[in-house]
Amino acid sequence: MEYYLVISILMFFIGIYGFITRKNMIAILISLELVLNAVEINFAVFNRYLYPEQMEGMFFTLFGIAITAAETAVALAIIINAYRCIGNIDIDNLNKMKE
């Protein structure tokens, strides 16, 4: 079980690293997907190893996947709209949206 957790910890913080160091908004969203994936692996692993007779972790993972899909759709809509407004999707141009 610890091996699964080690994998998901490393994946989570690789996602955090990408989140901080990327400039493009879609690349940031891709890093965010990595973070969410790591969390969902954790749900499934805890369910399987600690409470194998129940299915709560599995359903949390299912709902997490669905919520991630919804969140990605909305975020991409916002990104496309921002692209239409300011012509590129790097985060340092985004403070133009305030005006």
């Binding site: 079980m1 610890e2 091996y3 699964y4 957790l5 080690v6 994998i7 490393l10 994946m11 989570f12 913080f13 690789i14 996602g15 955090i16 690293y17 990408g18 989140f19 901080i20 160091t21 990327r22 400039k23 493009n24 879609i26 690349a27 891709i30 890093s31 997907e33 990595l34 994936n37 692996i41 499934a44 399987r48 190893y49 600690l50 194998p52 299915m55 709560e56 599995m58 359903f59 993972t61 299912l62 709902f63 996947i65 669905a66 919520i67 991630t68 899909a69 919804a70 990605t72 759709a73 909305v74 991409l76 809509a77 916002i78 496309i80 709209n81 692209y83 239409r84 590129n88 999707i89």
Partner: protein, 173 residues
């Protein structure tokens, strides 16, 4: 399956997962990044198969690798010109990011090493005991205790709201 073969497969899967994650956050072009993300998601489905969650692996591949990735690739094609590479931050940001990630790994690994998990008598890890599809379906749309009709319906409402919101935000004025 043979435990040794299992272990080797698991190690290969884990190494592939981590390597592809690193490549996904450091790739030069956005489309490559999305492709590595696709491979990461497929490897995650492999981990679910290792845990004997077959349904979860199927959902992972169909929703994530099928749906979300297509959305990503659509958005990438809509928002980037041909052959342009990602711009970079200055070096300070990279150092900050690496420090944050390493610090987080250190804290989490410390917690993981310190904590002792109580396993109990768990027979479902070895061997392939797949959860019956009928059980999953009944738990997903039942109204008894430990059944999940309410979150399921709330989720469908959320998806509807996201569809409407997405159309509203992304439409042409």
């Amino acid at each position: 399956m043979d435990p040794i073969v299992n272990l080797i497969l698991f190690i290969c899967l884990g190494v592939a997962l981590l390597g592809l994650s690193v490549m996904a956050v450091t790739a030069k072009s956005l489309l490559r990044s999305a492709t590595y993300l696709l491979l990461v998601l497929i490897c995650t489905a492999g981990l679910y198969l290792f845990l004997n969650y077959h349904f979860l692996a199927a959902v992972q591949i169909s929703v994530y690798a099928g749906g979300v990735l297509v959305l990503f690739i659509f958005a990438i094609f809509l928002t980037s010109n041909k052959g342009d590479l990602l711009k970079k931050h200055n070096a300070k940001k990279y150092i900050m990011g690496a420090l944050a990630a390493l610090g987080g790994v250190a804290v989490a690994a410390f917690a993981l090493v310190k904590h002792k998990f109580v396993y109990g008598d768990n027979t479902t890890i070895e061997g392939d005991q797949e959860i019956n599809m009928k059980v999953i379906g009944e738990a997903l749309i039942g109204t008894e205790k430990y059944q999940y009709i309410l979150p399921f319906e709330v989720l469908s409402l959320l998806l509807l709201a996201c569809i409407i919101g997405g159309i509203l935000i992304a439409r042409k004025r």
